[in-house]
Symmetry: C2
Subunit: 225 residues, 2 copies
């Protein structure tokens, strides 16, 4: 533990600490999401919130011309505070880095050569790539992908909303990982420890901010009285 | 076939007709969705698009004070044209009608007494109720529900975006129905026939509109030439 974490940790309530430990135990870095040139910040933030809910710690954002990632707190419910969001200038750079770290790249694509979501294996390390809301994934991503997949569609719509597609994909990936390996969270103990300390500190700071805001409003109330 | 359907059907291309037949074969009215007082039309429309994708023909909208259902074409990709959307003034009226028709009511709820999504059975007829984006489902819906359920959350966020929650629930329901009964689409033949005729007509009208628009732009182009 760092000196700061040691000094601050006692100020966390045991239930809050237990909650953090539980979240970290369910976190993974061997399943990740790449958002390529999204134009709607609401979609970026919905995906971040979904990643948090499914224990996905690392998220990669390839910025399009519109830079949609603006930490819209209302939609993400501040989920990105508890995530590692990496920003990239190009798809090639992002996917190249992931491939060199052993990730299989699966890109969502509605055309020829796509398999169903059920046909995918999610071991050992997989990055799911979601493309721009109207154009889909780029030709670059298609060329670099190890597999193209589509969520089976039973109706007239050709595609799902991109944040919905990401959620359905992650739900299936987590199910599959749990069925095959018995668990989804898989951070090595050193990484888990570091993440717990970081989250303890974040939680303590959050508590301090809330306490300060409460003190201010109490002083104001007293002055008015 | 009605006289109109008979007259118009020959104008449909065989591929389009086959597509419609395929969609109708995958449609169900024994799984339905209730949206209660949503305030964001983008969420209503994302859910409609998801229902179409998962073969859910009937959708119930309980209108809140803000009447969010405005057929936002961009988001639903016009999915509601191929769906039956029923509007209700109150939750009691909507859920009462569904219960009297034999539907089990499952409401999403993050509090005490909720079971996991996996614990639910989706036979014989189930209505999934999703509540307002900030307040959740109403006390009325909680009281009328046969079961309360929550999607397991592994992170710090307390809930998913409502359109994401609906999609994850529907994906699971369809999987479960297919595993248990071998199929998801289950319209009685009379209803399936009626729906096919309705969709043929809609598709013919769509074709006619497109042809007309093309003729207009062609005439304009000739005039400019």
């Amino acid at each position: 533990m760092t000196a700061e974490a040691k000094r601050e940790a006692p100020f966390l309530k045991p239930e809050r600490k237990a909650r953090i430990d539980e979240v970290v135990a369910a976190r993974t870095r061997t399943l990740t999401v790449v958002m390529e040139a999204f134009c709607d910040p609401q979609n970026v933030n919905a995906v971040l919130r979904t990643c948090d809910a499914y224990g996905v710690q690392d998220i990669h954002v390839v910025e399009g011309p519109q830079k949609p990632y603006d930490r819209n707190k209302k939609i993400s419910q501040n989920a990105d505070k508890w995530l590692d969001v990496f920003r990239w200038r190009s798809t090639a750079e992002c996917l190249g880095a992931l491939k060199s770290r052993g990730f299989s790249i699966y890109a969502t694509h509605l055309g020829d050569g796509s398999v169903g979501l059920d046909a995918l294996s999610f071991a050992p390390a997989v990055a799911l790539v979601f493309g721009n809301e109207s154009r889909g994934v780029s030709a670059e991503a298609l060329a670099l992908a190890d597999a193209l997949y589509a969520i089976p569609m039973r109706g007239f719509s050709q595609s799902l909303n991109v944040s919905v597609a990401a959620a359905v994909s992650l739900a299936r990936a987590v199910d599959r990982r749990e069925a095959e390996r018995g668990r989804h969270g898989d951070l090595p103990e050193g990484e888990a420890r570091a993440l717990r300390e970081r989250f303890y500190l974040l939680a303590v700071k959050q508590r301090a901010r809330i306490a300060k805001a409460e003190a201010v409003s109490e002083r104001r109330a007293r002055r008015r009285a």
